[in-house]
């Protein structure tokens, strides 16, 4: 399968702290690629330097469909078909739900007015926001805000959708809705990279998962393989946790 995104030896430092340390990985067209790792591992920083928001990599290279996008401005990266969400639910609070989604469709997508009108309707519907369309985004509940952020990304029909912890703070039924949604999106033309702490969700949807720790790439493989990997378990649970894990799982 063709490589869609290729990150090689990406590094980002904040002063002394190396938040992303020489990380390389590739994402194939059509797959769901998961990223896991403990708090502060550098996952969000990796998203940031791929999309150029709000900063670019200090070193290394990001290529999209073979084109170097390391130093491209963020809105150009969106134009290429890369849409991301943010870890903290984010919306234009003083605008309505419909306007929030519309912004995702109008700029940088090359759609005609007819096309974006219908794309907006489609995105509102697929994220069950049609009833809230005229409400101000600032009035929405957490889950609705998260859906709105995804709607404003998928409305552009992105080739690559990057979700940063979409499941944070959701209850069980919302989680299963989200899982269904992610699988539905990936059935279309969309390749997905997803950062997630909720491992059942992450391992449930991903074809491959990369685990990060201390800014580095610790492991990569199928969810099944990773669940047996000692280093991964240790990164999450610590030395004692690993022993406990083995005690339980035999």
């Amino acid at each position: 399968m063709a490589t869609l995104l290729s990150v090689s030896k990406a590094t980002k430092k904040f002063g002394e702290l190396v938040a992303v340390d020489n990380v390389s990985f590739e994402v194939d067209e059509g797959e769901i690629y998961g990223i896991a790792g403990p708090n502060g591992a550098g996952k969000t920083t990796l998203f940031n330097l791929i999309t150029g928001i709000p900063y670019q990599a200090d070193a290394g290279r990001v290529a999209y469909r073979g084109e170097d996008i390391t130093e491209l401005s963020p809105h150009k990266i969106y134009e290429l078909g890369v849409a991301r969400t943010f870890q903290k639910e984010t919306a234009f609070d003083t605008l309505t739900v419909q306007e929030n989604v519309r912004i995702g469709a109008v700029f940088g997508t090359g759609m005609s007015p007819d096309q974006y009108d219908s794309a907006v309707e489609g995105a509102l519907e697929s994220l069950e926001l049609t009833a809230d369309r005229d409400r101000l985004a600032g009035e929405l509940s957490l889950y609705a805000k998260k859906r709105l952020m995804i709607a404003s990304a998928v409305v552009s029909k992105p080739s690559l959708l990057m979700l940063d912890e979409p499941a944070g703070g959701l209850n069980v039924s919302e989680l299963s809705e989200l899982e269904a949604l992610i699988l539905r999106l990936s059935q279309g033309e969309t390749t997905i990279i997803i950062i997630e702490h909720v491992l059942p969700l992450l391992f449930g949807v991903s074809n491959r998962v990369m685990v990060m720790d201390f800014g580095r790439r610790l492991a990569e493989g199928s969810p099944e393989a990773l669940a047996r990997d000692d280093d991964v378990i240790e990164a999450y649970l610590g030395e004692r946790g690993k022993d406990a894990f083995h005690a339980i799982s035999g």
């Binding site: 709000p54 969106y78 609070d93 519309r102 700029f107 997508t109 552009s156």
Partner: protein
């Protein structure tokens, strides 16, 4: 639904009533000073409402808008005095040079944030002033450019009629207001609000930051440039006072007291504030009470008004009207719901 949405239902009727009322003003009000102030007020309202596009909608702390007005005034004035160019062409040229100046200021300004934008734009406007003062042979220096010809159509001289300037400036204000309202309710307006409210998210959704901010400067400079030109021909002088702190404060009060990000607020309050500030200047009691000369009193008053508005009604007068009207509507709605 905001007040404007409600008014929208009757908009054709209201537009006709408004137009007739406007046309009737110079017939009803025969006091020359009042008409003179109305004309000035409408010119200032043009600048204030265009300023609102960058300050209110784009959230850019831009302090160059009066410079666009001044550049328009001097462009048309100099063209007419030194080159005999028709004032009507001068008005267009005023809009064009203001637009050019806006592009020059905005290129460095759009990448900066907050206070730095304010400093840069203010410095730019002072630079224009210094440039004008440094060329007294062309600009008249400190005294200003005098002998600017008045507007004229054939033998009809605008300053000899109580109606001509009033109607012309009213028409310019109307065009400018329609233009601005169309902008802010368009997708372009949406993109400015998005950038203002959440820059990172906005660029993550494909909005080109630099381009939209540059456009905001450019599109909001043309009418102030033209208004500046009309101002010079109306007063038959282009004066460096345009660039002074006092006028900047007055215009800022129109935007802030009128209501940021409303356009209508600065339009209406712009005219009102012009009267009020003139009233302050000519009334003796304020200066008696505070024991200072009359000149500064009005600017103290204007500054005080800005502070009080920001403290108690950050949405300004227009924001307050919208708030009240939506509360009334909600109460009516609640009452209606109870009946059913």
């Amino acid at each position: 639904m905001s007040l404007m949405d409600q008014l929208n239902k009757y908009r054709i009727g209201l537009a006709i009533i408004g137009l007739v009322a406007f046309l009737a003003v110079p017939f009803v009000i025969t006091d020359k000073l009042l008409i003179h102030l109305a004309i000035l007020g409408m010119l200032y309202a043009i600048v204030a409402s265009n300023w609102d596009l960058t300050l209110g909608y784009a959230g850019v702390f831009n302090f160059a808008h009066l410079a666009f007005f001044g550049i328009g005034a001097y462009t048309s004035g100099i063209l007419a005095v030194k080159a005999g160019v028709s004032p009507w062409l001068g008005i267009l040229a005023g809009g064009a040079t203001a637009a050019l100046a806006s592009v020059i200021v905005s290129i460095p300004a759009i990448r900066l944030r907050g206070i730095y934008v304010a400093l840069l734009t203010f410095a730019c406007s002072q630079l224009v002033l210094l440039l004008l003062l440094s060329q007294p042979l062309i600009t008249g220096g400190q005294q200003g450019l005098t002998g600017v010809p008045q507007l004229q159509i054939g033998d009809f001289r605008f300053r000899e009629s109580p109606f001509a300037h009033f109607y012309l400036v009213g028409f310019l204000l109307l065009c400018s207001t329609i233009f601005l309202r169309r902008l802010v309710t368009s997708d372009f307006g949406l993109s400015l609000i998005a950038l203002r409210d959440f820059e990172e998210y906005a660029v993550a959704r494909g909005i080109p930051l630099a381009q939209q901010r540059l456009l905001a400067f450019l599109l909001s400079s043309i009418f102030p440039g033209m208004a500046g030109a009309v101002y010079a021909h109306f007063l038959i002088v282009a004066s460096p006072d345009i660039f002074g702190f006092s006028l900047t404060t007055l215009l800022l009060s129109m935007v802030l007291v009128g209501g940021v990000a409303t356009i209508y607020g600065p339009v209406f309050i712009g005219v009102v504030m012009t009267y009020v500030s003139e009233l302050m200047a000519s009334s003796a009691w304020m200066s008696d009470v505070f024991g200072i000369s009359r000149g500064p009193v009005r600017f103290m008053f204007v500054a005080m008004l800005i502070v009080l508005t920001m403290r108690f009604f950050p949405g300004g007068v227009w924001g307050l009207i919208n708030q009240l009207s939506s509360r009334v509507r909600k109460q009516k709605q609640a009452a209606a719901d109870q009946h059913t």
